[in-house]
């Protein structure tokens, strides 16, 4: 950390951003362009990580980390792969009805682990596809635009409603739609906006209304917030959409917007860190970030301490839990556009106290200092692509607003927002 401690805030975040971005290049397959879910040996690709990668190539061009031609070539490789991939109900297809399986083999692009055809991960992928389609606007980049447009238009969002008002979280060829629905506010805002904006197979307007019926407006730890426990749920959709000043009916009723709501959620996470109700090591106003991520799992649990139970990769949340003392080291930095001072104070404190959480300038997925381990606590091995992509995008939005500006010019997303009832601000 010594060197990082001495550099300016701007230099620090650019360095961390570049390192985060480089994951998306270092762990991409040469043939398919697919990006690995994690840096671990044998990891398949996560389509969500590919969506982040597509969104980050323009960032790399703007920062001079990739030439435009290189970024366009990488982008086109991915778009061609998805365009030509097997779309069928075969159990090892890449996708179906324009959606894609959550995890794909890096080299063949086939479904792995009998995973689900994932609605939210397809949305994250498609958001990246649309960013690419908007950004690469030169005459020689026509194929990118046309392929991106075709990929978006073929997603059959209406099919995914399965005749119901709301949305399931996915589908499997073996068993049909999953029982899991979208309950309560979370990262699905992007999914609904993309589904509502489709000119071909749009969601019915009732879908968004049905989801919002499950919203919980709460006064929590002294603040009003549209509740969602894991921090990432307040960030993912915001990586693409600038929610400042635009409001749907719910936020008009509450006199707030989703950007302000994320600020409130961050404040609650900090407050929770300070209260530290379960006495976890290191928690404070500058040590927070309880969210989805890797964790130590039950193996580490001491058998007699039933009040301490540790989890593996899971979605942790505040204040209802689950919370096992594991934070995501990247999470504080990812809040930069919303709470700059808090993000920097927390990140600097973390890097100073536990520099091991940021090997090669990339943050690990999970860290738990309450557990004893060689790394001053339990530390997740390697890196996760989602974390790196989100950090790179959020830093760029904080520094230049690049992704937000690109998305503001995406007609489909503008339409989706309007169909969801958003008004005001840049709309």
């Amino acid at each position: 950390m010594g060197e990082l401690a001495r550099i300016s805030d701007e230099a620090l975040i650019v360095r961390l951003q570049r390192a985060a971005f480089s994951y998306l290049v270092d762990y991409a397959d040469d043939d398919t362009g697919l990006v690995a879910d994690t840096s671990r040996q044998g990891s398949p690709s996560s389509i969500a990580v590919v969506g982040f990668a597509l969104s980050c190539y323009p960032i790399a061009v703007q920062n001079g980390w990739l030439s435009r031609a290189n970024a366009a070539a990488r982008t086109l490789k991915i778009l061609r792969f998805f365009s030509r991939s097997n779309q069928s109900d075969a159990p090892d297809a890449t996708g179906y009805k324009g959606f894609y399986y959550h995890f794909l083999d890096m080299r063949t692009g086939r479904r792995v682990w009998q995973c689900e055809l994932s609605l939210i991960d397809t949305a994250l992928l498609i958001a990246g596809v649309l960013v690419a389609g908007c950004y690469f606007d030169a005459e020689g980049e026509r194929e990118i635009r046309e392929t991106a447009d075709a990929l978006y238009r073929r997603v059959d969002w209406r099919w995914a409603q399965n005749g119901a008002r709301g949305l399931s979280q996915g589908w499997k060829p073996e068993s049909g739609f999953l029982h899991y629905g979208w309950e309560g506010y979370n990262e699905a805002a992007l999914l609904y906006v993309l589904g509502l904006g489709s000119p071909t197979f749009p969601l019915t307007p009732a879908a968004y209304v049905t989801w919002q019926l499950t919203y919980q407006w709460e006064n929590l730890l002294g603040r009003d917030v549209l509740y969602s426990g894991p921090l990432f749920t307040h960030l993912f959709s915001h990586a693409w959409i600038d929610f400042r000043g635009i409001r749907d009916a719910f936020m008009r009723e509450k006199g707030s917007d989703y950007f302000e709501n994320t600020k409130s959620a961050i404040a609650i996470h900090r407050e929770y860190g300070e209260r530290n109700p379960y006495g976890f090591k290191a928690y404070s106003r500058d040590f927070w970030g309880v969210t989805a991520g890797d964790g130590p799992n039950d193996r580490e649990m001491s058998s007699r301490r039933r009040d301490r139970r540790f989890f593996g990769y899971m979605s942790r949340g505040v204040p209802y839990g689950p919370d096992d003392g594991t934070i995501a080291p990247w999470a504080m930095l990812a809040t930069l556009p919303f709470a700059t001072e808090a993000a920097l104070a927390g990140t600097r404190r973390l890097l100073k106290t536990y520099p091991q959480v940021c090997p090669q300038d990339r943050f690990s997925s999970g860290f738990n200092p309450t557990l004893r381990g060689n790394a001053g606590g339990w530390l997740s091995e390697g890196w996760y692509g989602l974390d790196q992509g989100l950090v790179a995008m959020m830093i760029e939005n904080h520094r230049t607003g690049l992704i937000w500006e690109i998305v503001k010019h995406c007609g489909y997303i503008r339409d989706g927002l309007k169909h969801a009832g958003f008004e005001g601000g840049w709309l």
Binding site: Q114, E116, K172, P173, E174, S175, L178, H179, Y180, G181, E183, G184, Q212, L213, T214, Y215, Q216, W217, E218, N219, L220, L221, G222, D224, G229, E253, R275, P277, Y278, R304, R306, D307, R309, P319, Y320, G321, P322
Partner: protein, 501 residues
């Protein structure tokens, strides 16, 4: 010679049976007509018969099995007795944190757990014994009742004429639709308390209140418990945060959780019971020594001659009643599980008293006007009253929840019982309380304060000023109200500031 436990069982059972179904009971000679005939002597039937008798009306009460209904015999009372024992056993691994030293493997004597349950049931049966009912002037008939006209019932050879009748026949465990389960054998709430030994492996089908309560209880007593729920969460009626806390609590205790999982078949394998399950298309199996089926309850509407009485009913929904609990026969009412969606003892008793008032006192009490709290008795307990947030939003009522975490409540911290929360749901723009959800070690007690508050129309401002004992878990309720008050005062100050500018 009988050993101690067997003798206790025998003595307690005899005392209990003498109160709920005396062997030597002879049905009385019927009167020419009764003001009220009550069919079923569960919580609703007992409440109705006793309140009518105390008002001076002639009452006949017919029961085909045991007085007390499910609640006393195979429901709330025995399950809470078992849960009480399980809490003690479940607390042992935590005792070290309190400075207590416990043996590595605390021994359990299951027969003593069950003997305690029977003793408790025997003691509580005294409250509504057959002899107590007779002493109130109620004619008690044992036997199956069947309407043979719009104003008469047949019980054996006796014809009971009535001016008004109340059907309170309750509900029974829903029968399974699982191939092979009948042949494999299973228990329900009606038979689980007859077990004489603790099953090494218990499979629970159904993640509703009873399934969750008993899954946790038997796990704490030492069974390896697997619970299978055909839904994404337990307790589908409850809000997500509460259900997730319960899920983690079950997992922490060691219950093996299979959500989103359907049991598609069952068979016997060399003495063990095997359940075939499917999760997202993936098939697997669970082995168990006992299977508890807890997939809901269906109303007891069969063989009552309801058609003859002109009483409309549905096999799944029960007797159709209006808001005054009156059936399609204007002189026949219904109460409790046989007609209500909320199948709880307190709802049964409340509806029965209401029906008696409406039937005999010509009152117009509406079931929609009552606010019924309920609780699932897991650890932590999960209690609710009034509207859920999603119900308010469906009705386009702007709603805001004021939440206090139990880990911020001093008494919860001192007791080491700091899991859960108090949420009070308030109509925005007012201090009107629409509902509350409480997850806490004694949520069943805390929710009653909210019942008083809601039934008397106390708002958040007044609640914030009520002085409570300190320290107490109920401080969470006051803290939530005080949070409301702070926001309300800040909003008013904002309005004043805007007006002065």
């Amino acid at each position: 010679m009988q050993n101690g436990t067997a003798r206790e069982k025998s003595d307690d059972e005899q005392a209990y049976l003498s109160r709920v179904r005396p062997q030597d009971w002879e049905n009385p000679e019927p009167r020419s007509s009764y003001d009220l005939a009550v069919v079923g002597a569960g919580p609703a039937g007992l409440a109705a018969a006793e309140s009518a008798a105390r008002l001076g009306f002639s009452v006949v009460l017919v029961e085909r099995n045991r007085v007390g209904g499910n609640s006393l015999n195979v429901g709330s009372v025995p399950s809470k007795a078992i849960i009480g024992a399980a809490r003690v056993h479940g607390a042992m691994p935590d005792a070290e944190a309190f400075g207590a030293r416990v043996p590595n493997e605390p021994a359990l004597e299951f027969d003593k757990v069950m003997a305690r349950m029977r003793r408790i049931r025997m003691r509580i049966s005294e409250h509504h014994s057959v002899h107590e009912l007779a002493a109130l002037g109620i004619d008690v008939f044992f036997g199956s009742a069947r309407f043979d006209s719009t104003h008469a019932l047949l019980v054996g050879d006796s014809r009971l004429h009535f001016k008004k009748a109340l059907i309170a026949t309750g509900a029974r465990p829903r029968a399974p639709d699982i191939a092979g389960l009948d042949q494999t054998g299973y228990r329900t709430s009606a038979t689980i308390f007859e077990m004489t030994s603790l099953p090494k492996r218990l499979a629970v089908i159904g993640g509703g209140p009873l399934g969750c309560e008993l899954a946790q209880a038997f796990c704490r007593l030492g069974s390896h418990v697997t619970i299978v729920q055909n839904d994404a969460k337990f307790l589908p009626r409850e809000e997500r945060d509460a259900a997730e806390i319960l899920s983690r609590s079950l997992a922490r205790d060691g219950v093996e959780i299979r959500l989103n999982t359907t049991v598609v078949g069952a068979r016997r394998d060399r003495g063990a019971k095997t359940l075939q399950i499917v999760n997202s298309g993936m098939e697997s199996e669970i082995q168990a020594d006992e299977v508890l089926l807890s997939i809901g309850r269906v109303p007891n509407v069969e063989e009552l001659g309801l058609e003859t009485a002109g009483v409309d009913f549905d096999a799944d929904q029960g007797i159709r009643v209006d808001d005054f609990l009156r059936s399609t026969n204007p002189d026949v009412y219904a109460a409790g599980d046989v007609c209500l969606e909320l199948k709880f003892t307190n709802a049964a008793q409340s509806s029965a008293c209401m029906a008696v008032q409406n039937a005999l006192m010509k009152m117009q009490q509406r079931k929609s006007g009552s606010t019924i709290p309920w609780c699932t008795y897991c650890d932590p307990e999960i209690a609710h009253i009034g509207l859920h947030v999603w119900e308010a939003r469906q009705q386009s009522i702007p709603i805001k929840s004021f939440t206090v975490m139990m880990h911020d409540v001093d008494r919860s911290i001192t007791d080491g019982r700091n899991t859960g929360f108090v949420k009070i749901h308030v109509a925005e723009g007012s201090d009107r309380i629409l509902g509350a959800t409480i997850v806490a070690s004694r949520a069943s007690e805390l929710i009653n304060e909210m019942a008083v508050v809601m039934n008397t129309g106390i708002g958040m401002r007044a609640l914030a000023a009520v002085v409570h004992t300190y320290p107490a878990q109920s401080e969470a309720i006051v803290l939530a109200a005080q949070a409301y008050k702070r926001f309300d005062e800040a909003a008013q100050m904002e309005v004043r500031r805007a007006g002065s500018e």
